[in-house]
């Protein structure tokens, strides 16, 4: 719960410092329930990006949920009609997926809804609070807190990259390309969203070709 609050708080602070009102930060968190996906989408509409760019970026970044939903279908117990499937879809996140898959036996709709409730509240409240705080704190502190969300992304990718060579390769290749896209003038024609799409697809495809993962490793982040 604290983890959700912290990440969404950092999201709220960051996007509100960029000009999003606090209630919209909370609303985006509540309706999207993602981290990287909603942050990228928000950055893009703040930059005035095309709708297609926003849609494709969010699609690629969130594509992993497709796989998670797909494996969740194997775990659903009886009682999952169309309505229960539609409502459970709302809450397929990295963490909820990991807990749901790790639970023994089949899942009930009640269990899934209970599992989704906590993160949903923490995620929404955190973003709104972050937004409110960013308007109250001194500008110097808000600007320093702007790095918090990125630091959390670093905290997510570095530990597995330490232990897993293919992940380290993926991270380093993505950073290298991203820096090139930013600083080499030729690539400047591409908007921020397109370069993230291209980098993600290219690097993940290369890593999948070079280092196909074993069955049990594909279950989560």
């Amino acid at each position: 719960m604290l983890g959700y609050l912290a990440v969404s708080f950092a999201f709220g602070m960051r996007v509100c410092a960029l000009g999003v009102p606090w209630w919209l930060a909370g609303l985006i968190s509540f309706t999207n329930l993602t981290s990287a996906g909603q942050f990228a989408g928000t950055n893009l509409f703040l930059a005035g990006a095309a709708f297609a760019e926003i849609a494709l970026t969010v699609l690629i970044i969130n594509s992993r949920y497709f796989l998670m939903s797909l494996s969740l279908t194997q775990k659903l117990g009886t009682g999952f009609g169309l309505f229960q499937r539609l409502s459970a879809s709302y809450g397929v996140t990295d963490e909820i997926f990991a807990v749901a898959i790790g639970k023994g036996g089949k899942l009930s709709p009640r269990y899934m809804h209970g599992l989704i409730l906590g993160p949903c509240i923490g995620w929404t409240a955190g973003a709104a609070l972050g937004g409110v705080f960013s308007s109250l704190l001194p500008e110097l502190v808000v600007s320093a807190m702007g790095v918090a969300l990125y630091a959390m992304f670093i905290a997510i990718i570095i530990p597995p990259a330490r232990e897993n060579r293919p992940v380290l390769f993926t991270v380093l290749a993505a950073i290298t390309l991203s820096v090139c896209f930013e600083y080499i003038p030729v690539f400047k024609i591409l908007g921020g969203g397109w370069s993230i799409i291209i980098i993600t697809v290219a690097v993940a495809a290369l890593a999948a070709t070079l280092f196909p993962v074993k069955e049990e490793e594909t279950a989560g982040e």
């Binding site: 329930l33 509409f45 939903s69 499937r85 397929v92 950073i175 991203s178 980098i199 982040e221």
Partner: protein, 106 residues
Amino acid sequence: MNNPLYITISVLIMIAVTYLVRAVPLVFFRKEIKNRWFKSFLYYVPYAVLAAMTFPAIFSATGNLSSGIAAAASAVILAFFRRSLLIVAAGAAVSALICELIIAAV
């Protein structure tokens, strides 16, 4: 933030795409993906996305290159030693703040 219609449509697109990615498999599919390459691809996506979104954006997140670099370095070091999400974020923000205070004082 000066065009409410554009922002509303953008947010609706984000909601719709995110929801459909999750709902389509849950509602329509009953079988698991067997293709190993595709599973591997989806496994690597989060790492590639997060790395590309963070670098080099973190360097300019404070509006000042040196405090951005200080924050990134602190975060990488703390994360390397497996500190928690909160510690890594706080360490990076404090480094950036100290760096900004030094710059302001000089």
